[in-house]
């Protein structure tokens, strides 16, 4: 456990993504090490998120807690699986030095940073869960925390890509290949991540609704967020 925490700490401090290493196309930490670090972080946030169902009680509340704590890491894993090939292809087209393995490591590093930030919001989510009945509010709060931590994770990735592409051009990387790759890919990642969350729902568990591992195919993430906003009033 201490080793995992130390690894997360080093990653957050930028210890595995030093510009000198990245410029050579290397990410100096194993993919399995990153996965082992990211999974518990996602699980911790999932526990806080699933607390809402436990607080509301009823049949299936415990199962919802288990389901949510498993689904949060799964959400990141599946989003990564779906978007990794496109990141690799786009960065290869832009002639980056990252091999497929190092692209995987880099994306996993960004996902771990994302999960770390998300887990750090856990106590806040727990506090609001304990004090809030409003289901739409909890949906919006969680969307906001996922978005905030996602932005930090993507900023980490963008900085890393800047370092990867910097020696290629000798000009500010943010205005060239790195930026083009990132802009194209971020759109894919954001849409896939949001829709993956929608597919894996329910995460919180609607009050008075029976427990379900997954809900029927219906609507999409963006429409649901808009409807939650309207239901808040």
């Amino acid at each position: 456990m201490r080793q995992i925490l130390a690894r997360i700490d080093t990653l957050l401090r930028g210890g595995f993504t030093e510009p000198e290493q990245l410029s050579l196309g290397r990410v100096s930490v194993g993919a399995s090490d990153l996965a082992i670090a990211a999974a518990p972080l996602g699980l911790v946030y999932g526990l806080f998120m699933g607390l809402y169902a436990v607080m509301r009680g009823g049949p299936g509340a415990g199962l919802q807690l288990v389901a949510t704590s498993l689904k949060v890491p799964l959400l990141f894993l599946l989003t990564l699986v779906v978007t990794l090939p496109s990141l690799y292809v786009l960065s290869a087209l832009a002639r980056s030095r990252l091999s497929f393995l190092h692209t995987l490591r880099l994306l996993l590093a960004a996902v771990t940073v994302n999960c770390a930030l998300l887990a750090s919001f856990g106590p806040v989510t727990g506090f609001f869960t304990l004090s809030t009945e409003s289901y739409p509010f909890m949906i919006l709060l969680n969307v906001a925390f996922f978005a905030c931590s996602g932005i930090v994770g993507l900023s980490f990735l963008r900085k890393a890509l800047d370092a990867v592409f910097a020696p290629e051009t000798g000009t500010p990387a943010s205005q060239t290949a790195a930026s083009q790759v990132f802009r194209a890919w971020i759109l894919i990642y954001a849409i896939v991540g949001a829709q993956m969350g929608w597919i894996l729902r329910p995460f919180i568990g609607a009050p008075n609704a029976p427990f379900q591992w997954f809900r029927a195919r219906d609507s999409n993430f963006f429409v649901a967020v808009w409807e939650s906003l309207l239901r808040l009033f």
Binding site: D9, L12, R13, G14, V113, A116, L117, A119, S120, F121, G122, P123, V124, F127, F128, L130, S131, T132, E133, S134, F137, V152, F156, L232, F233
Partner: protein
């Protein structure tokens, strides 16, 4: 008293470039200052239980809100590459919280006098909101002073500070909502938590705004 003076002026042992944290004695004074304002705030209906509850609630409000946000503070500062300064950041936050408590205590006599002329409970609540706002502004002055050398050394500290403030205010507002009543409506029995207190400040405010705009 000299420690309190140093804390308010951000000088001596509590100067921005020093590293001292408040001693247990000073910490006790800070907590007592929060207790004092809480007690005065709860004295609106002149009921001893409410005085006691409110006295406990003010340090709870400030302390628990900070604790809830602490993991995020650590994560944000680490991601921003500011981890080496984390002790100084924590010190700045602790000292600014101290300033908030001391400012509240300084405003307590004003609140007590105001209660003599505030016949309406709602006005008393609004008045206390104003007092908290003033104390928060004093805390901001303190935080600004303590953060100045950090920001000068690394401008990213500005982002770290703003992220902390945004999350802390967001949590503290809900914490205040959960811990209400602070003033204590004289027409209702004294309770630590209001009956059915668990709810959401933001949902209530959003509903109020929505209704004010003509929504149903």
């Amino acid at each position: 008293m000299s420690a309190i003076d140093d804390l308010l002026r951000a000088r001596g042992r509590f100067a921005p470039d020093a590293s001292d944290l408040p001693t247990p004695g000073t910490q006790a004074v800070i907590v007592a200052a929060g207790l004092l304002y809480g007690a005065v705030m709860g004295s609106y209906g002149l009921r001893a239980p409410q005085v006691l509850y409110s006295a406990l609630k003010v340090p709870l409000l400030l302390g628990v809100s900070a604790l809830v946000c602490l993991p995020n503070l650590l994560a944000v500062n680490t991601v921003l590459g500011l981890r080496d300064d984390f002790r100084a950041v924590l010190r700045a936050l602790v000292l600014s919280q101290g300033t908030v408590c001391l400012s509240l205590a300084a405003l307590a006599p004003i609140t007590a006098v105001a209660y003599l002329s505030l016949a309406d409970y709602n006005n008393a609540v609004v008045f206390n909101g104003g007092m908290f706002l003033l104390a928060a502004l004093a805390g901001q002055i303190s935080l600004g002073r303590l953060y100045r050398p950090l920001i000068a050394a690394n401008p990213r500290h500005r982002l770290g500070r703003n992220a902390w403030l945004a999350l802390y205010v967001f949590v503290a507002i809900q914490m205040a909502w959960v811990l209400r009543p602070f003033v204590g409506n004289p027409e209702l029995p004294s309770r630590f938590f209001r009956e059915g207190a668990w709810g959401n400040a933001y949902v209530e405010v959003a509903a109020l705004v929505w209704r004010a705009l003509g929504g149903r």
